[in-house]
Subunit: 327 residues, 2 copies
């Protein structure tokens, strides 16, 4: 028997139920961001109002439907995951020297790296507060490991800047840590708090991981191929910062001594149009798309192995849309 009556109507109107859940999460986010200190409120609001797709809270809410969801607890977890994501965005912008995010100037470009860092720490703390009294040790452990992984990923990215000799495994590991594990955690935490049976928990974790990999690899493509207004940030930012993503790495593997490799090795500013043309000719974009599609298929397969129904279809749809998206 569901723990809260409001979820009982879901079978009749699942889309409405999901929307209602997301609205409740949004209200929680807004209330968590309120604080007495100006810069926190401003930099967090900047992120809140820029919106974004709320992919992670959606995944928490959907994953929980495969168990026995307690509405309040699930929405707390969904809000906490989004706060954690916002915290990592603030810190990631500092690591990336990013001027723009989701089409708007970043907190660090408004108030400086120090405020962005401290505001990120604040949101970390708020996320943990929301989860503190949930009696699931696995949830706390998963969350802690995700924070360790994300920061390890950031450090690896800093270490690997401008490094022209990088294999596929290094790129994939960095991508897993930087992005995929948090998306996987959204699915897992939703499953844990709703006490989803173990076999479905494993499928949801698999789904989240593959979706997260497809998501980030697509993001790396958008960074090079999207128009600025579509990407929500300047095109070519990764390459400009020396963050070498899969399309670039593939081109370097084809021509380890080509002009692109030499220019990157010398840290020369490369016109993005020239880089795109070279990478395209060497097959870097086609290869990257194939890798993204492989992860997408893995996510779709995991979704299809879940108990059939409307929630499963929603998860499959999200996976189907991830590679074709524009931002």
């Amino acid at each position: 028997m569901p723990k809260v009556a409001a979820w009982e109507t879901e079978a009749q109107d699942p889309t409405g139920a999901l929307q209602a859940g997301l609205q409740a999460v949004e209200a929680r986010l807004a209330s968590q961001v309120e604080s007495t200190s100006g810069p926190i409120k401003q930099s967090a609001r900047l992120l809140l109002e820029a919106g974004g797709k709320r992919l992670r809270p959606t995944l928490v809410l959907l994953a929980a439907q495969f168990g026995d969801p307690d509405r309040r607890a699930v929405e707390d977890v969904a809000a906490a995951i989004e706060l954690l994501h916002m915290a990592t965005l603030l810190h990631d912008d500092v690591v990336d020297d990013a001027p723009v995010r989701r089409g708007a100037p970043t907190a660090r470009s408004h108030w400086g790296d120090q405020v962005a860092m401290s505001a990120g720490d604040f949101l970390f703390g708020r996320a943990l507060s929301l989860l503190a009294d949930l009696p699931y040790p696995q949830l706390h452990l998963r969350l802690a490991r995700t924070i360790v992984a994300i920061s390890t990923g950031e450090l690896e990215q800093l270490r690997d800047l401008w490094r022209t000799q990088q294999g596929l495994l290094r790129y994939l590991r960095r991508t897993r840590r930087k992005t995929a594990l948090l998306i996987q955690s959204a699915c897992e935490l939703g499953a844990i708090v709703a006490e989803v049976p173990a076999p479905q928990q494993a499928l949801l974790a698999q789904y989240g991981y593959a979706l997260g990999m497809a998501f980030q690899i697509t993001d790396d493509l958008i960074d090079m191929l999207g128009a600025t207004e579509e990407a929500g940030k300047p095109v070519g930012n990764d390459l400009r910062q020396g963050n070498l993503t899969l399309p670039v790495l593939y081109a370097l593997w084809q021509q380890p001594n080509g002009w692109l490799a030499r220019a990157i090795g010398a840290r020369v500013e490369i016109p993005i149009a020239d880089a795109v043309k070279e990478i395209d000719q060497l097959g870097g974009f086609a290869y990257t798309l194939r890798v993204a599609l492989r992860y997408q298929q893995e996510a779709v397969a995991a979704a299809e192995a879940l108990p059939t129904g409307v929630w499963q279809q929603m998860l499959r749809r999200i996976a189907q849309d991830v590679v074709g998206r524009r931002q």
Copy 2:
């Protein structure tokens, strides 16, 4: 009955037992810092090897003695609190633009702000991992609130830089958030995990708070009056950064339109010897020392209200030594 036989010998050799506990904590710290990524290991080791007094783990171990300590859990909490402290030091150095800490160059001056920030995040995550499976919601809540408070304190410090009109309450609130709450949390978390009875928990919290306030206010005095080699960092760093501490604020209250107020308002670099002379003449150091001593007395009083014995005497001794210390 104590949960682990090893603690039974404490009554005979409490100092030895405390040392053994701290050694176990040190081993845990070293193992948590190991990771595959170079810069994390290096920046965390830098902090580990610089040592420090291990005040916070000591407080965890001592506070736990007023309950029924499970050795492994208490040592995990002690290590986690120190990891959290190290994480806040890494981030604090970024906020302060600090070149030197504990007599050695800071991580940020070695590897840059971005590495220092991410290494701090990594240690946060490790601290949380150590605590994830402890079944005390109060412990998780207390920790989350402390992280929120510390980051709020950092943001308040950034907001209040160079602000010559600040009252005592604003300074005390910032000090509580920046420093005192983590020291209070060390006492509280040690008490929670050892299931110390509520009245003693309250006394330990009071003790930790007052000790933390006395500690930071003394730190602010050392920053202006200590020799560089004693302070472990350049003297006058706070004032140079625009972080106005109690001695400076007191001088500004006495002469709101004096040369010191005008120089700070104009953000002029002030020779530290001139500032010290002016503050001394206006009574700023004597006043600050009185405030620090008031908190010290509060801490001593709380310690004296605890059940008498060797652990209580150790806590009282720590409080008695806090204001007279040189670094």
